[in-house]
């Protein structure tokens, strides 16, 4: 029984990583679905990039509807689970608690391991030293790229806060200058109106 073509088909279809960054409007909920085979080790990682208090509700359900993971108002989290059944797993991000801030959410859903580099890698022989060195460098670089992604997201978050602060300071300066002028002029006018209303009041004041 030759298993390799089936094995390669198996490997290519059910092993993948999807990472997406999408915008979640206020009072909205966005769900994603994936068909997973029993026994596959999966990891869901998410991070809120911009918006409001940088938090979102996340919920992960298995095909029966059992909630595997549920967190409210989380900024960043990583959850690993093994699929206990075959079927469609569903995870949702909700911004329903927010009334006017829309958020940008990044998530990375890894199902199984990465596909092997070679189509007929059902080798029985061990890897040579060079090849195993290459494999360990590859794994290290994958984690470097992963850390880089999270660093980039945190930097984007910091930068969006700084830019928000900058525009708020600009608007507030102009607004406050305007308010100051309006208030001081109206104070003077109001005070004048107390003293220049009717002739009778002035005579009363005089006597």
């Amino acid at each position: 029984v030759s298993l390799s073509p089936q094995l390669c088909a198996l490997m290519f279809s059910w092993i993948r990583a999807s990472e997406l960054t999408f915008e979640l409007p206020d009072n909205a909920k966005q769900c994603f679905y994936e068909d997973i085979i029993i026994g596959t080790k999966c990891t869901l990682e998410f991070q809120v990039v911009t918006g409001g208090h940088y938090d979102v509700d996340c919920r992960l359900e298995d095909p029966d509807g059992t909630v595997l993971y549920k967190e409210m108002k989380k900024q960043y989290d990583s959850f690993t689970f093994t699929a206990s059944r075959n079927g469609t797993f569903k995870f949702c991000f909700s911004n329903e608690f927010s009334t006017f801030t829309h958020k940008t959410v990044y998530f990375d859903f890894q199902v199984g391991d990465d596909p092997p580099l070679f189509p007929n890698e059902n080798r029985v022989t061990a890897l040579t030293q060079m090849e195993s060195a290459c494999v360990s460098i590859h794994e290290a670089l994958k984690s470097v790229i992963d850390y880089q992604t999270h660093f980039r997201l945190r930097e984007a978050q910091g930068r969006s806060r700084a830019e928000d602060l900058n525009t708020r300071v600009a608007f507030w300066s102009i607004g406050e200058a305007f308010i100051l002028l309006v208030v001081s002029i109206s104070q003077v006018l109001l005070l004048r109106s107390f003293f220049s209303d009717k002739k009778t009041t002035t005579t009363r004041v005089g006597s």
Binding site: V1, A9, R152
Partner: protein, 244 residues
């Protein structure tokens, strides 16, 4: 005695091979089933989500320059009678629009119900990939949702190593090293982009710092000037009214 032993071991072996055959058959069956499911799901059986008829779904990809992005999608329409999603729909296409960080459109095309779009970034920054259906036959949706399978690969993941190995005739070790080179290249590009972003961040912070400084000074001056003006104006007003 030995014949008996031989006979017993033969029987045991036969039953053993019989059970192994059973296991092998069962394994082959499940693998064929998986292969069949794989074929049924065709090219893209990735993550999927639902999209309404006039809804536009946008995804953001923050990437350095000269990075290639390959996006594969597949759509399925909900059939109310069968109460399930049809495998493929004729005449239903998706409109894909890609905008670069300067809000300039770099890709704007209509694809069929299953499509693949490729583009390379020329400026570093946030690129926006937007999808919406181009359905003009409103009856087709009938208030249902469209299921969209989407898979976006960025940078090093876009390389098809099997193709590269065949084209350049690389050995296994050479192919692994080529993959490492591509990965390191991606890390380097990202670091470069990181330097550019950090500079922008620093400029924003310094601008805020300057604005706060200037505003404090200007506000103090305005307050003092207004105080003087108010007092002088009121004094002259009261003197005119002969109250002072």
């Amino acid at each position: 005695m030995t014949m008996n032993n031989l006979g017993k071991s033969l029987v045991r072996m036969r039953s053993f091979t019989g059970s192994v055959k059973m296991v092998a058959v069962r394994m082959q069956f499940t693998l064929y089933l998986v292969l069949l499911l794989n074929i049924y799901n065709s090219f893209v059986s990735a993550l999927y989500f639902h999209i309404g008829e006039t809804e536009k779904k946008c995804f953001i990809e923050e990437i350095p320059d000269e990075t290639m992005i390959i996006g594969n999608y597949r759509t399925q329409l909900y059939d109310k009678q069968k109460e399930e999603y049809l495998p493929a729909t004729q005449g239903l296409g998706m409109f894909v629009e890609v905008k670069d960080p300067d809000e300039k459109v770099i890709l704007s095309r209509q694809y069929g119900s299953e499509g693949r779009f490729i583009f390379t970034s020329h400026t570093p920054g946030e690129h926006q990939i937007c999808l919406h259906s181009n359905s003009s036959k409103f009856a087709l949706f009938a208030g249902g949702m469209l299921r969209v399978h989407l898979d976006i690969q960025v940078g090093e993941h876009t390389n098809n190593y099997a193709e590269i190995a065949a084209k350049d005739k690389l050995t296994e070790l050479q192919l692994r090293v080529r993959q490492l080179m591509e990965q390191v290249d991606q890390v380097q590009k990202e670091q470069n982009y990181q330097r550019y972003r950090e500079e922008r961040f620093r400029q924003t912070s310094e601008s805020t710092n300057q604005r706060v400084l200037w505003w404090s000074i200007v506000q103090t001056l305005i307050l003092v000037a207004i105080g003087f003006w108010q007092m002088r104006h009121l004094k002259s007003f009261f003197e005119a009214k002969k109250l002072v």
